[in-house]
């Protein structure tokens, strides 16, 4: 517990540095939200007036102090454009993002770990080569291309799934599942490829250990041996899964764009394109927080797989 609290506290300086870097980067990049709001027909005078109304004409330090002060009070601010509180915008995006992240990871684990283990057990055989060929292909073909192929084949031709959009779970399990299946398959292919290769490599390494040879010599069957090996190979796999999950929660822009999923990724990209400072700052800061937290949980989970680890 002490270790957990210490680690949690140690994330504070990280978050402060992230906040500062994010703030500086987005404010120093070219672009002006007032010009985008005012539109094509606006004059420089109109834009300057709007800039003052929005408060983006204030000195940078003043804007930073204002933003961090609000942040300390739990106020993430409101979008410059829509005037909707950032917390509400995030809440709107959380369900699609979490749905896709968790389902993608579930699909990934369902396929990648068995495939990687089988490939490791039959290393060098045609089964191994076939699995590796699949992994290389899934990893190499661009995500958007796979997305379009899935839309063409399974949505337009077969009419099994919608081409775009997200349906909330509150509107029914089946409509929700139909809406997230294609994006999840699209994303899972990449993660399956990655984790299959990772599993294969670590299981091959573990299978060559002395204790596995001893277990086999004692007459243990294939399955108990593989399960035993898997537990010992779990740490790198869990680390990769954790990083993958952080990335999925942080947003997967290409897939969200191809399937028009209103997730966190598109929220950030839209905000960056518009220079919607409060949204970018808050979402990136929260994404960094999620990343740090998941890494912490991964570190803690190591003890479960290897009781020798002490903190």
């Amino acid at each position: 517990m002490t270790y957990f609290l210490k680690r949690l506290l140690s994330t504070l300086p990280v978050m402060i540095v992230v906040a500062l870097i994010v703030f500086m980067l987005i404010h120093l990049s070219p672009g002006d939200p007032a010009a985008l709001i005012a539109g094509d027909s606006a004059s420089a005078e109109d834009i300057a007036r709007l800039r003052a109304q929005l408060g983006v004409d204030k000195p940078l330090w003043e804007q930073f102090v204002l933003w961090s002060g609000n942040l300390l009070h739990g106020n993430l601010g409101s979008s410059i454009f829509t005037q909707i509180p950032v917390s509400k915008l995030l809440a709107q995006r959380l369900e699609p993002t979490l749905s896709i992240a968790l389902l993608t990871m579930a699909l990934t684990l369902l396929f990648a770990v068995p495939l990687g283990t089988v490939a490791a057990y039959r290393a060098g055989s045609w089964v191994d080569r076939l699995i590796m060929l699949f992994a290389v292909l899934a990893f190499s073909v661009p995500v958007f291309l796979v997305g379009y192929l899935l839309i063409y084949g399974l949505a337009i031709k077969a009419q099994w799934f919608p081409t775009q959009g997200f349906v909330s779970l509150s509107e029914g399990l089946w409509p929700w599942l139909r809406s997230v299946t294609l994006p999840c398959i699209n994303l899972a292919l990449v993660y399956i490829a990655l984790i299959t290769r990772m599993t294969r490599a670590t299981v091959i390494e573990v299978l060559s250990e002395d204790y596995i040879r001893t277990a086999r010599a004692k007459g243990l069957g294939v399955m108990p041996v593989l399960l035993h090996a898997l537990r010992n190979a779990a740490i790198p796999i869990v680390t990769t899964v954790g990083v993958g999950l952080s990335l999925l929660i942080g947003g997967v822009v290409v897939t969200e764009t191809v399937f028009a999923i209103p997730g966190v990724g598109r929220l950030v990209v839209d905000a960056v394109q518009r220079h919607d400072y409060p949204v970018i700052q808050s979402v990136l800061l929260l994404s960094a927080g999620v990343y740090v937290l998941i890494n912490l949980l991964i570190d803690l989970s190591y003890r479960f797989f290897d009781p020798r680890i002490r903190y």
Binding site: P30, L36, I37, L50, T82, L89, G172, W176
Partner: protein, 527 residues
């Protein structure tokens, strides 16, 4: 009961509740889904001149007058009106039964507050202020306008359907906003905005305004009966064109407001989809007239002599039947302001003449900083042709590639081109933003304006005033010709050719023939 039993019961309860939940209550309602041209960024149409905000405004707000399919202003919220004293005095009476979406009646005080706010922002409005316009609410339903000088564009101004339309909002919201934007959306138009269902970047929802009292005349473009038949309209934001096309083919959306040029012909071959035109647009080369070389009138004339409009419109990517080979007017061919006055010397590209004029201009090899947007294919295409055209006549060009939002921000910078400013960029302009000496995005701005490029020609200012004062049609036409002759003399920007955009709609959508121009007239559609 052990823990497994509890978990099993909880899972069953959760799954049954999720499976058995009724579909959304709007399942039976008539829902129309359209992919808009862009995401809705801002809801106040008097602050934002983006067309998507204008389209939003046309659904939720109403205007005093509206243009019919022929472009003629017709009374909309107004029941009766008359003018006298040579067009200097006007009186108006509102239709009975008009009410805002919050149930309060629309009053003359709301109208006056809305128009005073609009006037300060809009080119037409500013011209009315210059002519001494004063609005006054006489009682709940009547109001008047008095002008110090004649102004022949009152109805055109009040019915304008381009950016910054003269929409009517509640006075209380205008007062509460002060100089800022009105963020609460309470209109009196045919549809109500559902703010609680708005997911920026994904979905904008409107529901039919059951209290809307339509006019007795049939719908004609923005005029006539605008009472909607569709119960619910959803703007589905699909930034990826491929996804939008797939959604249309799969019947997940009913309409795409604007389709990219390279999708027009493939969609035309789909038997379940109809492709229509969204009205005319103009390609334009905007020049910074403050700094060399484009502060020199002769250099600008030289460049205009080198322009081959057909090359530009081809590069924009639109199919041959949607683009014109040549259009001689600044004010849109086929529109009421069409005139060829002053255009003759520029008909067809004449590179020899262009080079000769450039030599006579005293051009000293100053660098042209050309801003080229990389994320807007049509504008990028016309920009590339502009660069080549400039090089062909001997201008020294430095191309700076950037995204459109960066360009929009940078074009407001008044710095010298070599110090972070700019010299030129190409853009596309809808007909309503170029079709008259007041609405034209460059020629409509008087000297002292802060439009990108800072255009200024005092003779044009005088001729514009002359045009606005004309109440007689023949005299107005003559004033327009004079204005264009001078516009071709000072060349404050270069028209690069005319084309039409396209929309796509599923053939199951009814009344699509009522869709005229570039404002989606969703109240007129049915399915």
């Amino acid at each position: 009961m052990n823990i497994r039993s509890y978990v099993a019961i909880a899972c069953m309860a959760l799954s049954s509740s999720v499976l058995c939940l009724p579909m959304a209550s709007h399942a039976q309602a008539k829902v129309f889904r359209i992919v808009p041209q862009a995401d809705l960024k801002f809801t106040d149409p008097i602050v934002s001149s983006n067309y998507v905000t204008r389209n939003f405004a046309m659904l939720v707000y109403d205007t005093l007058f509206a243009r019919d399919a022929g472009g003629v202003p017709r009374p909309q919220m107004v029941d009766k009106f008359r003018y006298f004293d040579g067009g200097k005095q006007w009186s108006f009476t509102l239709r009975s039964g008009l009410q805002f979406h919050d149930g309060t009646p629309v009053t003359a005080a709301d109208v006056v507050a809305s128009l005073e706010r609009w006037q300060a922002q809009d080119n037409y409005g500013r011209a009315m202020i210059a002519a001494g316009a004063q609005w006054r609410a006489n009682d709940k339903t009547t109001f008047s306008l008095s002008m110090k000088e004649p102004f022949g564009q009152v109805l055109e101004a009040l019915s304008k359907n381009t950016s910054l339309p003269a929409v009517i909002m509640p006075e209380r919201l205008i007062k509460a906003a002060g100089n800022g934007a009105v963020t609460e959306v309470v209109g009196s138009g045919p549809y109500k905005f559902k703010r609680d269902e708005w997911v920026p970047g994904s979905k904008v929802v409107f529901v039919r305004n059951a209290q809307y009292v339509g006019r007795s005349e049939p719908a004609s473009a923005l005029a006539g009966n605008r009472a909607g038949t569709i119960d619910r309209i959803e703007w589905v934001i699909l930034p990826d064109s491929n996804s939008a096309m797939a959604a249309l083919k799969n019947s997940e959306v009913d309409m795409i407001e604007q389709i990219p040029p390279d999708y027009i012909n493939p969609l035309r071959s789909d038997t379940s989809i109809k492709v229509g035109t969204t009205g005319a647009s103009q390609g334009a080369l905007v020049l910074n007239t403050l700094y060399p070389p484009f502060n020199n009138e002769k250099v600008r004339q030289a460049l205009l002599h080198a322009v081959d409009q057909a090359k530009f419109t081809t590069a924009m990517g639109y199919p041959a039947d949607l683009r014109m080979k040549y259009c001689p007017t600044f004010f849109i061919c086929g529109a009421p302001g069409e005139t060829a006055a002053g255009a003759e010397p520029y008909r067809g590209a004449d590179l020899a003449k262009a080079r000769q004029l450039l030599a006579e201009s005293g051009y000293k090899g100053e660098k042209v900083v050309m801003m080229l947007p990389s994320d807007y294919p049509s504008i990028n295409g016309s920009g590339l042709v502009a660069i080549q055209t400039m090089k062909d006549i001997g201008l020294k060009v430095e191309v700076q590639s950037m995204d459109w939002p960066t360009l929009v921000s940078r074009r407001t910078k008044k710095d010298k081109p070599e110090a972070g400013g700019w010299s030129a960029y190409t853009t596309l302009v809808a007909a309503q933003a170029t079709d008259s000496p007041l609405s034209n995005f460059v020629l409509g701005a008087a000297c002292g304006n802060t439009q990108p490029g800072w255009p200024c020609d005092k003779k044009l200012d005088e001729l514009r005033l002359e045009w606005t004062r004309q109440t007689d049609a023949a005299k107005r036409k003559s004033a327009l010709d004079n204005f264009q002759r001078q516009a071709y003399q000072s060349v404050l920007y270069l028209p690069l050719g005319q084309f039409s955009g396209a929309f796509a709609v599923r053939k199951t959508v009814k009344n699509i023939e009522r869709q005229v121009g570039d404002v989606p007239m969703l109240w007129a559609l049915d399915k």
